[in-house]
């Protein structure tokens, strides 16, 4: 688990990308992990072509949930909304998976869950339950 906290993770934790809320968001979702209280909110602006033009996240929580969410925001910019809706947890695993313990997987996937919820328009199941 200690090898999880690599430099780029700490960097995303301490300097989250696309952090904040979005004026004129077309889709927003928010959720918390009831087991730990971590929260994430995702605001998306999608253009007429169904492309995610802009994204912001906010929330509070551990390095895992916040860094994972931060990385996600960098990746979804420019994606089709329908592809965002279909994202699986492999994207999270690729981003932050090394060394993560199973207990912390829900932290890592909270941002993804919220992102998908925003895209789908309802609260998604935990991605790791799919």
């Amino acid at each position: 688990m200690d090898d999880f906290y690599r430099d780029f993770i700490l960097d995303h934790y301490r300097n989250p990308r696309n952090f904040g809320t979005l004026e004129g968001a077309t889709a927003t979702a928010e959720d918390l992990n009831p087991l730990c209280g971590d929260t994430i909110r995702m605001d998306l602006r999608v253009n007429d072509g169904g492309i995610v033009e802009e994204v912001r996240f906010s929330g509070k929580g551990c390095a895992i949930s916040q860094a994972s969410a931060s990385m996600l925001t960098e990746e979804v910019k420019g994606m089709k909304l329908e592809d965002v809706a279909k994202l699986g947890k492999d994207i999270v695993l690729e981003n932050v998976g090394i060394g993560i313990s199973p207990t912390r997987m829900k932290c890592a996937t909270l941002g993804l869950r919220v992102l998908k919820s925003a895209a789908i328009g309802e609260i998604a199941g935990w991605p790791d339950e799919e």
Binding site: M1, C36, G37, G61, C62, I64
Partner: protein
């Protein structure tokens, strides 16, 4: 203060089989999460094994030998627990845990005694188990929920207690905070609450395991606690209630064992304590809790309290230097006012990350809201890490915690 008896603790440790096993990374298990659930001594495990492999049988209605033995052991465990908190055994009702005990009062006493005009007084530091049941009761009855405030250290603010108690029908308060370890001055509050006409329920989930408790001396009306936090098995807890109150209450759950006579259209109910024990009881775990109490009695609850105070004092000393590097220890930091609980955060490391890193060193602490979300919100803590001590902990465990924090500082490049 009795000084820390390391030799006694070394002997105690050998009674706990889990502490003999290294973690998967080969580290010594440093268990600092007893406020969540305690470890179990061999004598408790043996009590379960002996029951299941020698005299497992259903109780009360059995004529044959092993059924009689099971009944005797089950009721003897009740006597043991009753003696431990100075109750009459008819006042000791088995439940699954403290939570069920509190809910039992909510349903059976609450729904029949709380009216729209009444006030339920609780505090800002309650565990969800002593808050949400009263929210639901207030919702159902229209009663008002009121809170004793806490100050910035997490200590109950009792200056306005008289005003707070006005119109209060039920005071529901914890004996010891699970998040901060702060001990409620029941000897001060209970008489005032009674004078104001309130019935007093104490959530003793963190009380009985860590302090000598005498329900008669405290003069509380209800007292709830859990076996698993006091060296006993999971699945067994206790509601103590004053006999007259329990007698007047309707049953909660209905079924076998709690009845006196059943006809198709009508039922009369059994005597205390069985009136509140429906269906097959958790026989094995009640017997296991009896064994746990005997173990605690053999140590002496005064010793348990003193031991935790010593450890907490030592921990506060060892952690003080880290405060300069961003460690924030919450609560009053006074072992006289607090049981063996230590809540903290370390610089910008989130409590979960802290707990994960400590885990790699074999150190088990809890991280999160500790089932006290509103308190966390009020205090402005997104989460805290919590180390909690019990009879098997030593200074070496505190040292391991400090070493783990050093490692966390390194990992997070503080």
């Amino acid at each position: 203060m009795i000084s820390l008896d390391e030799r006694k603790v070394e002997r105690i440790i050998t009674d706990f089989p889990i502490l003999a096993k290294p973690t998967s990374r080969g580290k010594r298990l440093v268990y600092l999460d007893s406020a969540a659930t305690s470890q179990k001594p061999q004598s408790v495990i043996d009590a379960l094994v002996t029951y299941y492999s020698e005299y497992n049988a259903n109780i009360h209605r059995g004529v044959y030998e092993i059924a009689a033995r099971a009944t005797d052991a089950f009721e003897a465990a009740r006597e043991t627990v009753a003696r431990f908190v100075n109750a009459d055994s008819r006042e000791v009702i088995w439940t699954r845990n403290a939570t069920e005990a509190i809910n039992l009062v909510g349903y059976s006493w609450g729904l029949n005694n709380i009216r729209r005009s009444d006030v339920i007084l609780t505090s800002q530091l309650e565990h969800h188990s002593n808050l949400v049941p009263w929210q639901l009761l207030a919702e159902k009855t229209g009663a008002t929920l009121r809170f004793i405030p806490v100050d910035s250290r997490g200590v109950l603010q009792l200056d306005d207690l008289d005003a707070l108690l006005e119109g209060v029908k039920l005071l529901a308060i914890s004996h010891v905070s699970n998040t901060l370890g702060t001990i409620t001055p029941l000897e001060l509050i209970v008489p005032k609450a009674h004078a104001a006409g309130a019935t007093v329920l104490v959530d003793g989930a963190q009380g009985v395991p860590h302090l000598p408790v005498d329900v008669k001396a405290l003069d509380v009306d209800f007292y709830a606690f859990s076996g698993h936090k006091m060296l006993g098995p999971t699945g067994i807890g206790v509601l103590y209630g004053k006999r007259a109150l329990l007698e007047a209450m309707p049953p909660f759950l209905a079924g076998g064992d709690m009845i006196r006579k059943v006809e198709y259209e009508h039922t009369s109910f059994n005597d205390l304590p069985w009136k509140f024990e429906a269906g097959t009881s958790n026989i094995a775990d009640a017997i296991g809790l009896g064994a746990a109490v005997e173990y605690l009695e053999s140590l002496g609850m005064d010793w348990v309290r003193a031991h935790e105070q010593e450890l907490l004092g030592y921990a506060l000393d060892r952690l003080a230097p880290l405060e300069r590097r961003g460690l924030a220890v919450y609560g009053p930091k006074d072992p006289q006012l607090v049981s063996g609980v230590l809540s903290f955060n370390f610089a910008d490391i989130h409590a979960h990350d802290l707990a994960s890193i400590l885990d790699t060193e074999g150190v088990c602490v809890r991280a999160g809201h500790h089932c006290t979300m509103p308190l966390m919100e009020k205090m402005g803590w997104p989460a805290t890490a919590r180390a909690s001590f019990y009879v098997y902990n030593t200074r070496a465990d505190v040292d391991a915690l400090v070493d783990g924090l050093e490692k966390a500082a390194q990992v997070f490049k503080l």
